[in-house]
């Protein structure tokens, strides 16, 4: 690793004042530290958010669940009252990754194979920052790109409780990242189907959403032809394979919801 300075502010305002173009935020470090170890980045200062208590915790808030940005995957797996969200968090990486990695870090990073983006978009969550509230559909922009401005800090993510939801992932057996992951949810605003791992960035499968709105059953997805255009192709899976997985996993998610 290159040299850097390290700061651990105890308030959000102090953290915001320390952020500039040469510094980066440090949450669980399970994306950032491997990147620094490979010398793929050279920040001057790391601003560690771990001492800001208000950024941590799983808080039911009426019909919503607010999860602090610094809440670890393990805490979400144990405490989230939305079962699909708890099970998604419990399937991230391995126990050590879940003990350190945070929802804020994962969402801010927007890795194309990360799990949380499927939950945020599928459950129609809101990403709250020290400046504003950003709806899920506007937050994830492109490969590793989000709507966050430079230096903007995620404070929490609020998930409306769905009527029912399920997340299915076909994971990479080495890293457990999603080769494809699909969140299907029945929400107050209709059926949502969010796909991660398959493309450069999480996306909604609107054709499936329309079909499931009419008939919420695996059968309703049978005749949908998922195009491989624009999907990822790598040593793990071809674009065609991923296209097929989207349908298989969506059907399994619907079947699980229907019990």
């Amino acid at each position: 690793m290159y040299d850097f300075d390290y700061k651990r502010p105890s308030t959000l305002d102090e953290a915001a004042s320390l952020i500039n173009e040469d510094s980066v935020l440090l949450a669980g470090g399970h994306t950032l530290l491997p990147t620094l170890k490979q010398r793929l980045a050279q920040p001057e200062t790391l601003v560690d958010l771990s001492a800001i208590d208000s950024l941590r915790g799983v808080c039911p808030d009426g019909d919503k669940l607010a999860i602090g940005a610094m809440t670890t995957h393990a805490e979400v797996a144990n405490k989230a009252t939305i079962p699909a969200l708890a099970s998604l968090a419990g399937g991230i990486g391995d126990p050590q990754v879940r003990n350190r990695g945070t929802i804020g870090g994962s969402v801010a990073n927007n890795d194309p194979a990360a799990d949380y983006p499927a939950a945020v978009v599928g459950l129609n969550a809101v990403v709250n920052t020290n400046k504003r509230a950003i709806s899920a559909d506007d937050f994830f922009v492109d490969l590793f790109e989000t709507a966050l401005d430079e230096g903007e800090i995620i404070t929490n993510v609020t998930f409306p409780t769905p009527d029912a939801a399920a997340y299915m992932k076909f994971d990479n057996p080495a890293s457990r990242y999603a080769i494809v992951g699909v969140m299907v949810a029945k929400t107050s605003g209709g059926v949502r189907v969010a796909v991660t791992g398959a493309g450069p960035c999480v996306f909604r499968q609107s054709e499936m959403e329309a079909a499931l709105s009419g008939d919420f059953s695996p059968r309703a997805l049978e005749n949908i032809n998922v195009s491989a255009d624009g999907l990822n192709s790598d040593i793990h899976a071809s674009a065609e394979y991923r296209a097929n997985l989207i349908k298989v996993l969506a059907k399994r998610a619907v079947a699980q919801i229907n019990g």
């Binding site: 690793m1 290159y2 040299d3 850097f4 300075d5 390290y6 651990r8 440090l26 470090g29 399970h30 530290l33 491997p34 620094l36 170890k37 490979q38 790391l46 560690d48 771990s50 393990a74 990486g93 391995d94 126990p95 050590q96 990754v97 003990n99 350190r100 080495a174 890293s175 457990r176």
Partner: protein, 155 residues
Amino acid sequence: MPTVSMTVNGKQVSADVEPNTLLVTFIRENLRLTGTHVGCDTSQCGACVVHVDGNSAKSCTMLAVQAEGAEITTIEGLAKGSDLHPMQKSFQENHGLQCGFCTTGMIMTAVDMVNKQDNLDDASIRKGLEGNICRCTGYQNIVKSVKAAAQEMEG
């Protein structure tokens, strides 16, 4: 250089470290506790697992400064004198190791797993060991070791 203080295996330690010092480097080079290993540079192998405030963590993917004020347990902190921890004993008795490189991390992960989950079956033990890679054993005897120790520790 910032000063970092933490408790390691029950002892208070304090040192000046560069901010880019990894926790595993601090443990191995400053404290000379070399039972914690480094097997990769991609955060995947688990040879470096220690407990941080009672949770297993990869010490190669934490900075020493992030452990300020924390309670750390390394493999050297498990045995009581010459009395091995039940998990260590079980790996010995069930031939849960060959070269031994992965073993200290395996044991630290396994102890955390047994502390947090009851009635572990083979499938949940394998799931719990997903962050630890062994190049020798084929895992059969590792799973056997963890299961036997779990029964001993719960019993």
